[in-house]
Structure formats: structure tokens, C-alpha cells
């Protein structure tokens, strides 16, 4: 197996991880403020649809006179608006009407599915519009030439860079700014925040809506990154995987990115496998090894940035990293018998991984303490 292939897979993993990471950050904004968000899927779906419709509309309105990127950007903005609106609905239902937040999230998902299917059936001809095109890949001048790392990280569509920037920004903001302090207080002990004059519900409204914007970016990415058109139900469960990534990443954006990379990797490998690049079993081992390594890196980064992590984490990170490296080595150097794993089964990987993560096989996770409970003054 050669480097090109390796680099290709990792790069693809980052791409596939991007919508999941956006979704996870969306969940982060909500859950850190104390609002459960299982509607990420619906928000991403709306975002995807609006991205498509927005760019098409813009294109039609301006008669194709402006560079294609302009309509793509308009599509992006439409996506954020659409998802933001639906997030606002979730906020209104769960904060003002105090609907159980899981039910409220389900309602949003149902509505999103219904609306997007309706619009797709009514207005989008599956064979008609050729699609709106995709964002061009931008190679960052010097950095993308660095051997091995360069093409993995610095040769991507702009939304990928945006995602990486957001991850860093959100990590900083959550722990080092007044906004982050207040957000966390509102999610952990809203009454305490109230008694120092913070408007709990307003903070929740704003954060949930901002979360919607992020989910919209994730959905837009699906349309504006690869296929250039909207397909019904194209999110395919990514919103829920994003939620698992968030939980696994201990409600931090860096952690969520690490988990998203794991899921993205499984998706990337599935894609490559269908192209017949590698022997199935070897791919599986490689995936697991890479995933573990990435995980360890993410947690290590988390530990560096954030004090107060649990004491056993050093050893845990070491173990995970070692296991990862061992498996990668095994994958590369052992002669694997060509066992036939049905192609479909590799599509299972993200979902199975999510279940394993949630089952706590990789560590218990503690959510913000006040999550799920509407805040009442009395």
C-alpha cells in the first residue's frame, strides 16, 4: 500500500468528517446551554435543501452573470438561514412552551423530512437541473506542499477550512471568554446564572439558533461539496452520528472533531472499498488502527488545552495510541487473506461505531448538569 493511497484516504476522511463536525458543533452550542438537540439531522437536511434552492434561485435571478462562487455563497447563506429558523422553532418549543426537548427535536426532524420531501417532489426534478456545481478546492500556497501532511490538511474546499477554524474558535470561546463561561453556567446550573443577572432563556435562544446556523453549514456542505444537488434524505443519519461524536468528544469541539474524523474515516474507507482499492479485512484493521490513533491525538490535544481532565486520561491516551499504531503496522505489513466482506457491511461502520461509543465502551460521558430541563424562575 503506498503513500498516495494513504494520503488520499486521510484527506477524504477529513472531507467526510466535515459535515459531522459541523453537526457536532451545532449540538455543542445547544447542549452546553442545557438544551438537548436531537434535531441536528433535521436542521442539516433543511440546510442542505436551502443550500441547493438558494444557489439555484440566485443563479436564476442574476442570469448567470456573476461567477458561480457567488451563487454558492448565497446558497450557503440560505442554508444557514433555513437551518437557523428551524432551530429557532426548536428553541421556542422547548424553552417557551416547555415541550420535552426530545419530543421537540423529533417534531423538528419529522417536519424537516416532510418539508424537504415535499419540496423535492414538487419542485426539484431529479433529472432536470444539472446541479449548482461545487465549491472549488483551494490549495493553501506553501502549506499544501508539505509532504504527507500538506495534501491531507491544506488541499480542500473552503468549508473544510471553515470547519477547522470553527472548531478552534469554539474551543477557545467556550473556555476562555465570558460568552463561554455564561453558556456553561446556563447549562450546568441555570439558577446560579440567574442569580448573578444572566438571562438564562435568552442565552439559550441565541445559542440554539447559532447552533442551527452551524448545522446549516453542515447540510450545505453535503450539497455544495460533492454532488452539487439535493437528494431526499441525503443526510442519512449524519445528524445523529454528529450527536454521538459530540458525546464521545465530551462536549468539546476538539473532542468532537476527533470523533468526527473516526466516523469520516469509516465512511472514506467504505467509499474506497467500493472502488476496489484494498482487500477488505486489511481495510478494516487499518480503519480501526487509524481511528484509534486519531482519537488518541484528539484527546491529547484536549488535555493540553484544558486543565481539569480526569487523572486516568494520560494512561488511557497512551493505551489508545499504542493500540492504534499497532493495528496500523499490522494492517500495512501483514499479508492479509482476501476475505470477502460484503461491500454493504462497510457502510455499517459509522452506525456500529456510534453504538459502541454510546455504549460507553470507550468511556463514560457526563453531560452538562442541567441539560433537558426547561428553566423556570419560580
Amino acid at each position: 500500500m503506498d503513500t498516495v493511497f494513504f494520503v488520499g484516504i486521510l484527506g477524504l476522511a477529513l472531507v467526510k468528517a466535515t459535515p459531522i463536525a459541523f453537526g457536532a458543533m451545532s449540538g455543542l452550542m445547544c447542549e452546553r446551554s442545557g438544551v438537548i438537540n436531537i434535531a441536528i439531522e433535521g436542521m442539516m437536511l433543511m440546510g442542505a435543501m436551502m443550500a441547493f434552492l438558494g444557489s439555484v434561485a440566485f443563479d436564476n435571478l442574476t442570469g448567470g452573470g456573476l461567477p458561480p462562487t457567488a451563487s454558492l455563497i448565497f446558497g450557503l447563506i440560505s442554508a444557514m438561514l433555513g437551518a437557523g429558523l428551524i432551530a429557532l422553532l426548536h428553541a421556542v418549543l422547548s424553552i417557551h412552551y416547555k415541550v420535552d426537548q426530545i419530543i421537540s427535536g423529533t417534531v423538528i426532524n419529522l417536519l424537516a423530512i416532510g418539508i424537504t420531501n415535499f419540496v423535492a417532489n414538487a419542485y426539484i426534478d431529479p433529472n432536470g437541473i444539472a446541479g449548482v456545481g461545487v465549491f472549488p478546492v483551494i490549495s493553501i500556497p506553501i502549506l499544501s506542499k508539505i509532504p504527507f501532511i500538506g495534501p491531507i490538511f491544506f488541499d480542500h474546499a473552503p468549508l473544510v477550512y471553515l470547519m477547522l477554524i470553527m472548531v478552534a474558535l469554539l474551543q477557545y470561546a467556550l473556555f476562555k471568554t465570558p460568552w463561554g463561561l455564561r453558556t456553561r453556567a446556563v447549562g450546568e446550573h441555570p439558577r446560579a446564572a440567574d442569580t448573578v443577572g444572566i438571562n438564562v432563556n435568552r442565552r439559550r435562544y441565541i445559542n440554539v439558533t447559532l447552533g442551527g446556523l452551524l448545522a446549516g453549514l453542515g447540510g450545505a456542505f453535503l450539497v455544495l461539496e460533492s454532488v452539487g444537488r439535493f437528494q431526499k434524505l441525503m443526510t442519512n443519519g449524519r445528524g445523529f452520528i454528529a450527536l454521538a461524536a459530540l458525546i464521545f468528544g465530551k462536549w468539546t469541539s476538539v473532542g468532537a472533531l476527533g470523533s468526527a474524523l473516526l466516523f469520516g474515516l469509516s465512511e472514506a474507507l467504505g467509499v474506497r472499498l467500493q472502488l476496489g482499492d484494498i482487500n477488505e479485512l486489511q481495510a478494516l484493521v487499518l480503519l480501526i488502527g487509524l481511528g484509534l490513533l486519531l482519537l488518541a491525538l484528539a484527546f491529547a490535544a484536549l488535555k493540553l488545552i484544558r486543565r481539569g481532565a480526569d487523572k486516568r486520561s494520560n494512561r488511557k491516551i497512551g493505551v489508545i495510541a499504542f493500540a492504534g499504531l499497532a493495528m496500523i503496522a499490522a494492517a500495512l505489513f501483514v499479508n492479509w487473506p482476501p476475505i470477502d466482506i460484503p461491500v454493504q457491511f462497510l457502510g455499517l461502520l459509522p452506525y456500529v461505531a456510534t453504538v459502541l461509543v454510546l455504549a460507553g465502551f470507550v468511556g463514560r460521558a457526563i453531560p452538562p448538569a442541567a441539560i433537558g430541563r426547561p428553566y423556570e424562575k419560580a
Binding site: A173, K176, T177, P178, W179, L181, R182, R184, A185, E188, H189, R191, A192, A193, D194, T195, V196, G197, I198, N199, G308, A369, K377, A378
Partner: protein, 514 residues
């Protein structure tokens, strides 16, 4: 005569179904400690929440130093120099002291990015440490609040108010979680704050404290002012009468115990908490039939885990529990119940009742699977109903019907439901854990009398309470638990508040006969 620092004039506040404050007039003079006294539910906390801006009053005015003000939220109150230390601490457990103090009023450095600016934790930590030293309140700015002791957390709360520049401090039931010695320490701090020119409002329902520390006392009853007086002009019985509106028997009526054979024997019990720390460390005692053993101690010294271990809700690391000679160590809760143990739990909403269930279903919660409530896996609604009607009458539970949801009842009636359920069974041992916390005087009296009645029927009673008055009034023998160990055991006649207070604070006595 200078203007009072705070003056409330005709303040009323109502919630759906209840008038919490009814045209209340209140004055806080400069440099005084003014106690706001009343029983649970009298409206004291509500009134102060209005002053602190957490509630808006429905009518009435607030004057600060003679000027009428609008206080719409805590920021306004703090701007007026009013700070509040709540009964349940308003600190975020997973954050540090510094973060908690900064919250809402953050100091930042660097470019002015508003909410996205960089927090300046070092500076605040410095300021906080200094502030603590100045007032004699030692606190560690970098500690996580969840790692602090209760007393330390309270100090943090006080510093938090001072940090925001409060000249007036409202303290809501501050001694509820302190040992008598810690309470004395708090009083010392309060006096020193007064000496620096602050003024303090002190909310409580404890008569003795009020007489000790207050300069003036305002008594609230059912939302109205029942009287304003000073310690020199009044005494406990008068204050109690003002609080309740009738003669109050401060001492529980009970005859001497007639103890029989030991019903409960605990030997060398060791129990861990959820964090794998050993919180019960080799506890041994027995409870005999027909006596009340009271375990006194400040919350957090292992009593909760002790009770859980006895009742089968927490695993026992080492040691044994015997009921009537039978070993029930580590048996499941149901088996424990079936060996004749009744348990009135500490948290009635979480463990004692299902708030969403009607009263009749709550009344069969422990034994629903046995006849008469069920025959061969089928529930018998008639039996359930009849049992409920009998018990509601017998235990004087005030409710419109037996189908009323438990969540609609008052605290006192909810506790009566639990007590009715537990005491109506054929039991050998009753474990009552903080049985009257948060209840009105009438309910407290009733439940105490029921406990004594059960004792006189020959049932053994294990009473766990952090209210010393309750222990001293009810128990025949008293044990004190501290840091997971029983420090002393004595007949009630030999117990004094001072002696118990010292033990509760961990001060060992010279070895005497035990």
C-alpha cells in the same frame, strides 16, 4: 434617625394559588443584623427574592436609603449594593471559585470584544484572595466548587457578594448546613462585617439563633407581618406563637421508652460512596424494640450512605446488618422491606413518592405485588382504593380525593402519605431520615407524634436528622456520626447541645464509658 438602608412598603407577591407576601412592610436599619423569622412557607425567601430582583413584586415599593428604586434583576440589586447568599448555593460545581465569582461580571483583558474577549482569571483570582483575607474568609480561588466543603462553599458565596460590592447581605437559612460550631464562626464573621459598616438580613426558622444574633426580629406568618420585636423584648415561646399563630408545644410529648430486644444490629459496617470513597467506616450500633435511636450529624458525614446500606440500596463493603437476628446484609431492597423494615427517605420527591401517580397508587408502592393489592400478577383496584381511603382518613392527609396526584399535595401532606404507607405495614423497624425537613409546624408535630406512637407499639426507630432539636426532642438514645464513624453514644438525658455540637464537629471526647 437616619433613613433605613432598605425599606419595603406594602409589598405583595402572589403565585398561582397562593399569596406569598401580603402587603409586607419591612425596614433594615444601617449597621444592624435584622432577622426575618417564620416557619417554612411563610414567605421569607420570596420577600427577599423580590428585594434581590429575582421576582417582581405585584404591588408595593422598595426604598434604598430613602430613594424609591426599581429592582428588575439581580444586576440592579447588586448595583444597589444588595447581595444575597441563598439557602441552596448558587455555585456551579464544575467550575472554579474564580470562574464562579466572575460569572456575569467578567473581567477581561486584551481587545474589547465584549462577550468574546479573553477572560482574565489571574487578576480575578488575586482580587478574590485578597478580599478573603481582608474579611477573614479563607478561600482558594483555584479550587473546584464541587471539591469544597459545605462551610467553604458558603464562604465563597459570601465573598461573591462582597466582590460585587455589596453593602447589604441577605443570608437565607445559612446555618441549615452547619454544625453549631460552624454557625458560631459564621456569627463571628457577620459581626465583623457589621463592624465594617455592612448591614445584614438573616432569614431563618430557628428561634435560638435569632435570639442570639439578631438586633431586631420581624416575624412573618402566612405572608403577613405578624410582629416586629427585639431579643430583649421576647422569648422563644412568644416568637413561636407569633410564627404559628397559636400556642406551640415546643417539646414533643413522650413517655419513657420500654426497650426490648434489639431489632436492628449493625456491626462494623463499611460503605463506599459513588466516588469509591469509604464514607461509612466501621459503624456499629443497635436499635432495640420500643426505643428511638437518634443519629445526629451534619449532612455529608455518611448518614445517607449508612441508611442506604441498611435498606439494601447501596452495597456493603464489609460488616453486617441484622434484623431480629437475621442477616440482611446486601439483600435487595425488596427483601429488606419484607423483613419488616419501613423507610421514610430523605428526598421525598425523588425516592419516596411518584409525583405523577395518584395517592392510592403511591400508598401501595412498597407492597403492590402482594395481596391484597394483587392476586397472581393482577392488580386489584378495589383493594387499592379501600386501602387508600382508610389511610388518608387515619393519617389526616388533606386532599380532594384519593385519585389526586401526589404532586399536587403540599409538602406536609406528601410526607404524611409516605409516613402512612410505611407505618401502616406490620413492621419491626422504622428508619426515618430527615422526616420533617421543610415542613410546616403542624405537620412536624403530627409526624413526631406518629413516630412516638409507633415506638410505644414496640417498633424500633432509627431517626437520622441534622436538626438537633428534633434529635434531642425525640430520641431516647443519641449517637453522633462524624466522617463515617460513630463518635459517641449516650442516653438522651446526658446530651446537651454543646456536647453534641462538639461531637458533630469532630471533636472527640475523652474516653469514658461508651
Amino acid at each position: 434617625m437616619s433613613e433605613p438602608v432598605i425599606r419595603l412598603s406594602g409589598v405583595s407577591k402572589h403565585f398561582p394559588g397562593v399569596l406569598a407576601n401580603d402587603k409586607v412592610d419591612f425596614e433594615l436599619a444601617a449597621g444592624e443584623i435584622h432577622a426575618l423569622l417564620g416557619e417554612n412557607g411563610a414567605g421569607k425567601t420570596t420577600l427577599m427574592n423580590v428585594v434581590y430582583g429575582l421576582y417582581a413584586q405585584d404591588e408595593g415599593k422598595i426604598y434604598i436609603n430613602g430613594r424609591e428604586v426599581e429592582i428588575d434583576d439581580p444586576n440592579d440589586a447588586l448595583a444597589q449594593g444588595i447581595g444575597m447568599v441563598h439557602q441552596h448555593f448558587m455555585l456551579v460545581p464544575v467550575m472554579t471559585v474564580t470562574e464562579n465569582l466572575m460569572l456575569g461580571h467578567e473581567t477581561t483583558r486584551g481587545p474589547r470584544l465584549g462577550l468574546l474577549a479573553d477572560l482574565d482569571e489571574k487578576k480575578v483570582a488575586e482580587e478574590v484572595k485578597q478580599l478573603g483575607e481582608v474579611h477573614g474568609l479563607a478561600i482558594n480561588p483555584d479550587a473546584l466548587v464541587q471539591d469544597l466543603s459545605v462551610g467553604a462553599q458558603q464562604r465563597v458565596e459570601i465573598v461573591k457578594a462582597l466582590y460585587r460590592g455589596a453593602d447589604v447581605l441577605i443570608l437565607d437559612e445559612p446555618t441549615a448546613v452547619l454544625t453549631p460550631q460552624e454557625a458560631e464562626e459564621l456569627f463571628r464573621v457577620m459581626r465583623s462585617l457589621i463592624a465594617e459598616g455592612k448591614s445584614i438580613i438573616f432569614i431563618t426558622h430557628k428561634l435560638k439563633e435569632v435570639l442570639e444574633i439578631a438586633d431586631r426580629i420581624t416575624v412573618l406568618r402566612d405572608g403577613k407581618v405578624a410582629g416586629i420585636t427585639t431579643p430583649s423584648e421576647t422569648n422563644e415561646s412568644e416568637l413561636a406563637a407569633m410564627m404559628v399563630g397559636r400556642e406551640v408545644i415546643l417539646q414533643v410529648e413522650k413517655g419513657p421508652p420500654h426497650p426490648g430486644e434489639p431489632v436492628l444490629r449493625v456491626e462494623d459496617l463499611q460503605v463506599k460512596d459513588l466516588r469509591e470513597q469509604m464514607v461509612v467506616r466501621g459503624v456499629s450500633f443497635e436499635v432495640r424494640a420500643g426505643e428511638i435511636l437518634g443519629i445526629a450529624g451534619v449532612q455529608g458525614n455518611g448518614q445517607a450512605q449508612l441508611v442506604e446500606a441498611i435498606t439494601g440500596l447501596a452495597p456493603v463493603e464489609d460488616g453486617n446488618v441484622f434484623v431480629d437476628g437475621k442477616d440482611i446484609t446486601n439483600l435487595k431492597p425488596r427483601a429488606v422491606t419484607e423483613s419488616g423494615i419501613a423507610h421514610v427517605p430523605e428526598d421525598r420527591h425523588k425516592h419516596g413518592l411518584v409525583l405523577g401517580y395518584p395517592i392510592d397508587e403511591n400508598l401501595m408502592l412498597q407492597t403492590y405485588y402482594l395481596p391484597p393489592f394483587s392476586k397472581r400478577t393482577f392488580i386489584q383496584p378495589k383493594a387499592v382504593r379501600e386501602n387508600a381511603e382508610t389511610l388518608v382518613k387515619e393519617y389526616d392527609v388533606r386532599t380532594p380525593s384519593i385519585s389526586t396526584l401526589a404532586g399536587s399535595l403540599s409538602g406536609g401532606n406528601q410526607q404524611k402519605v409516605i409516613v402512612a404507607r410505611e407505618l401502616s405495614r406490620d413492621i419491626r423497624l422504622l428508619i426515618a431520615n430527615q422526616p420533617t425537613r421543610g415542613l410546616d409546624v403542624g405537620s412536624i408535630e403530627y409526624i413526631h407524634s406518629r413516630i412516638v406512637a409507633k415506638r410505644d407499639e414496640g417498633v424500633g426507630v432509627l431517626l437520622v436528622s441534622s436538626e438537633l432539636d428534633e434529635i434531642m426532642g425525640l430520641a431516647d438514645r443519641i449517637a453522633v456520626i462524624y466522617a463515617g464513624e460513630i463518635l459517641a453514644m449516650m442516653p438522651a438525658s446526658e446530651a446537651t447541645k454543646e456536647r453534641l455540637g462538639l461531637l458533630m464537629a469532630g471533636v472527640q471526647e475523652e474516653p469514658a464509658e461508651n
